[in-house]
Symmetry: C2
Subunit: 262 residues, 2 copies
């Protein structure tokens, strides 16, 4: 399938079942978001957790009221129950199953959150001429649990998870400048250099994703990562939580450039 | 003398001879600039050198025509011949003498350049809560010759000189963000980490200024430095060049915040 498809067309093909699988590389230039759906009596705590931890949990959109399955701000004719290729359903913090449609289990008390994702800033970095190692090596970005505590909110708490991209120092400085413009997709890196300073024991053994090559003179650069809220959700164990399956994102009508604050 | 003096008052006290010496710490909040005065037939080359190397040579003001000794943009009733505590006079690249007034040697063909200086961004960093080691240790910032070639312009060329401030990585990221807002006072750092990558042999032996303590877990962060044009001037050997003596800057009426591009 042609990757240069509009987000609306892509969502329709996902809805009809014609498109399944990873959304990475499709509808380039448009924001892809992490999905989290929670019952209303858990949503306020989660929203506060995101508000207190905007670097790992940047909210780019949420349903205007419980039960709503559209998010007008993020897309025309968007139906959150059908427009994501693969959903994960968690009960009490445990993964129960993966499905391609959640219409049959939709409830009037469900609240949808869409969180920014690193695809947007990676595109901005690549456009600027920087090499992103996980992209050039065609693997998932390496991610690590840190010893950095997130601010707690109600039943949500946990350590920050970070993603890592190795860079030469001059490129890292440029990346910091570019990512600063994009606070709603994790913003500037939170650390570079010595992994031990943030509690990472072995840079070659990521806890999520894949290891990437770190070349001579490169330093690891660490960004707050969208896996952070997933870890907090697993610990909080809400009775029901629906997320996207890894790599199967919500593709929105929002241009990536729209997220730049300057 | 009270350091909280207006730039205009300070310039008048300098002009009258009441104030001599280092301007550091005086008229806080206002831009202090590096001075370079050249004969007109050298000024175009120098201007081009600055234009090609804006990080080490950021022009914040210049005389509107040869012979002018005021720069209206930089200060009310400013007289560049008298308003700097100490001048250095170079002939053929050699330091001839230091004087407190250049009225008697002023010529109609002299062109004045004022270049941005690190005092402005150091103030912004300190205001944000960062520690600047050379300030807290009350010494001159350590500076080093690098192996980075400046772009040449006519008779001007040379290696870039950098200043160094040690920081924890998280503080370095914040410093990169803040300094990015101030391109006319050297802007973002040009390097961090391994000094050898930019040709610095021993971080503990600066070629200009004083060594500072580098604490555990800190990385050296390097900024393009205003000594770069001085080195280029020494190599180019213009028949006459007048600069400020180190630390004895032109204090302008321009608020530091005015230099922030965003």
């Amino acid at each position: 399938m042609n990757q240069d498809i509009s987000p609306l067309e892509l969502r329709h093909k996902i809805r009809s079942g014609e498109f399944t699988g990873n959304t990475s590389g499709y509808s380039k230039g448009y924001v892809q978001g992490n999905l989290c759906i929670l019952p209303a009596d858990w949503a306020n705590d989660f929203l506060q957790f995101c508000q207190l931890n905007p670097r790992p949990c940047p909210v780019v959109g949420m349903s205007s009221s419980a039960g709503d399955f559209g998010i007008l701000k993020l897309g025309e004719d968007l139906d959150i129950r059908t427009d994501i290729p693969n959903y994960r359903i968690f009960e009490g913090g445990e993964l129960i199953k993966e499905v391609t449609d959640i219409s049959d289990i939709w409830r009037d008390d469900l609240v949808t959150f869409v969180l920014g994702c690193s695809f947007s800033f990676e595109e901005a970095l690549i456009t600027d001429g920087l090499e992103i190692r996980n992209v050039s090596e065609a693997v998932n970005v390496p991610m690590y649990r840190t010893n950095i505590d997130c601010a707690s909110a109600g039943r949500f708490s946990g350590k920050m998870v970070v993603s890592m991209r190795p860079m030469l120092p001059t490129d890292a400085i440029r990346a910091i400048q570019i990512c600063t413009r994009f606070p709603s997709v994790h913003g500037a890196p939170i650390h570079f250099g010595d992994p031990g300073l943030v509690g990472i024991k072995d840079i070659n053994v990521p806890e999520f994703g894949d290891a990437v090559t770190i070349r001579e003179n490169e330093v690891p650069v660490f960004w707050a990562c969208g896996v952070t809220p997933q870890v907090a959700l697993e610990q909080a164990k809400p009775p029901l939580c629906i997320t996207h399956a890894p790599g199967c994102m919500l593709v929105t009508d929002l241009p990536n450039s729209h997220l730049a604050i300057m």
